[in-house]
Amino acid sequence: MQLFIQSLITGILLGGVYAAYSAGFSLIFGVMGVVNIFHGELVMLGAFVTYWMFTLLKIDPFLTIPFSLVSMFVFGFLVQRYVINRVVEAPPMISYILTFGIHLIIAYSALWVWTADFRTVTTSYSGFNADIGGIIIPYARLATFGLALIVVVGLYILLYKSDVGRAIQATAQDKEVARLMGVKVHRIYAITFGIGAAITGVAGSLIATYFIIYPQMGLPYTIIAFCVVVLGGMGYIPGALWGGLVLGVVQSLTATYLNSGLSGAFSFILLFVMLIVRPAGIVGKGIVE
C-alpha cells in the first residue's frame, strides 16, 4: 500500500511538471493551429538559462525563473513575428514542417555550442526530502509542482481576465471577426507565442533543478507534450493539468509495477487509443478538427 501511495505521489508531482511545459503547447495550438515541433527546445533553452546563471553567476535556480520567463518571451515573440507569421495562414502541414526546421536549427546549434555533455544543477538543498510516514517527497519536486500549478492557473487567469487574453481568445475563435473588431491578429499571434514560450521556459528552469539537461533533450519533451495535450484536449488550457496528471500517474505506476522502460510504451499506447476513442480529451473540451 505504501508503495502504491509513494508511486501515486511521485506520479502526481511528475504530472505537475508535465502540465507546466505542455500548457504552452496547447495554447499555441489552440490559438494558431500550429503544432510546434520545437516545443521541447523551449524547455531546453529555459533549462540552460537556469544552468548558466547558476553555474556562472551562482544565482539560486529558483531566482533565475524571471530571467528565463522574460528571455523566452522575447525569443518566442520574435520567432513568431518574423518567421512563423509568414506561413500561419497556410495549411497546417506547412507549420509543422517549418517548426521542425527551427527544431533542427536550435537543437543542433545548442549541441554545437554546448556539446553533448550531460549537466545538472546541484544546489545545497538538492536531495532534501520530506518523510511523511515513510512516503518520501523531495522538496525540489514539491516546489516545482507548486510553481507548475501557479503557471497553469496564471495562464488561465491571463486568458480569461485580461484584455490581451480576451483578444487572444477572440482570435482563436474567429480571426476574421477579431480582425474586424480591431484586433491586430498577427501581433496577437506573436504575443501568444511569446506567452507560450515564456511558460515553457519557466518549466524548463524548474526541470533543470532535478533532471539531467543536455542540448538534445528537446524531442522527447515535445513528444510527451503531445501526449499530455491530447489527453487533456488540444487547445483547452486546464486540460493540460488533467492530461499531465493522468500521464504522470500512469507512467509512475507502470514504472513501479511493471518495468520503467514500458512506461514509454504505455504512454504511446494510451495516446494512440485516446486519439481514436476520444480525440477531444478526457474532459472532452479540446478542439476536434
Binding site: V35, V87, I97, S109
Partner: protein, 316 residues
Amino acid sequence: MNRKLAALIAAAVVLVLLIVPNLGLTGYMVRLLAIIFLWIGKTGCWNMVAGYTGYIDFGAVGYFGIGSYVTALLMAKAQVPFLVSILIGGIVSGLIAIPIGLPTLRLKGAYFGIATLAFAEAMKQIILEFDKTAGVNFFDGPHGITLPMGPGNLFFYYLGLVVMLAVVGITYWIERSKFGYGLRAIREAEHAAELSGVDTLKAKIGAYVLSAFFLGVIGGIEAYWLTYITPHMVFDVLITIQMVVMALLGGIGTLFGPVVGAAFLTIIYEVLHRDFQYTYAIIVGFIVVVVVILMPKGIVGTLNTKLGKHRVKQAQ
C-alpha cells in the same frame, strides 16, 4: 515534352544507371548511389500517402522498422533466404498497416500525425522492452540482432535501383490512375470526394498499405546491408523526419519531388557530415525554413508551376 520523349529519357536514364557501375565507378560512388536510391524509395513511400492524400504520416519509420526486424529475425533465427525475408517483411508491414490505418486514417490533420508518431514510438518501446517483460530471448531488446554477412555494395546498388524504380513507377501509376485521382480528391476536399462516389477509406488504406509494404521491404534491405540492427536505429524518428524534409524540398505530391529532394539532401549530407558533424543538421534546418517560406511547393512543384504558366502562354 510529349510522352514518347519522356519515356525515351526515362529508359535512357535507367540504362545508364544499369551500366554505370561496370564502367569503373569507384566503390564509394556505388555506395553513395545505392544510399540515394534507398532514400528515394523511402521518401517516395512517404509521398504516396502524404503527397497524394494530404495525410501527413509521422510514423512512417514504424513500417521501416517492422520490415527490418522481420527480415533480421527470419535470417538470423530461421536461416530464411534474404529475398524471401524482405518480401515477408514487406507483407508483415503491409498487414500491420491495415489495423493501424483503419482507425488513424479517420483522424484529421495534426491528430493523424500524432497518432502515427505514437504508433512508431510504441513499436520501438515494445521491441526494446518485450524480452525483459515477457522473460524470453526473442527481440534481444536494446542489444539488437546481428544478421549474416551480406554481399558487397554492388548487390545493394542493383537492389536499391529496383526498389527505387518500383516506387517511382507506382507513383507514376498513381498520378495517372483513377485510384490516384481519388487520392487527390481526398487531399483537396475529402467530404466532396466522398459525395462524388470515392470510397475514401478504402482509397486511403490502399495507399497506406502500399507505402507500408515498400517501407518494410526497404527496411529489410537496409538491415541486411547494415548487418546489425537495434530498435534505436531502425525506429529512429529522424528517419521519418528525413523523409518529410526530402519530400518537402523536392516537392510534396509530385512524381520527381522525392527523387530530387532525396538526391540533393543525401549529397549535402555526404559533403558536410564528415567535416562538420552538427552543421549538416543546422543547414538542413535553414533549408527547411527557407523552402517553406519562399517555395512551399518544393523544387519540382515550383518548376511545374513555372513551366505550366509557360505552356499556357504558348497556347494563347
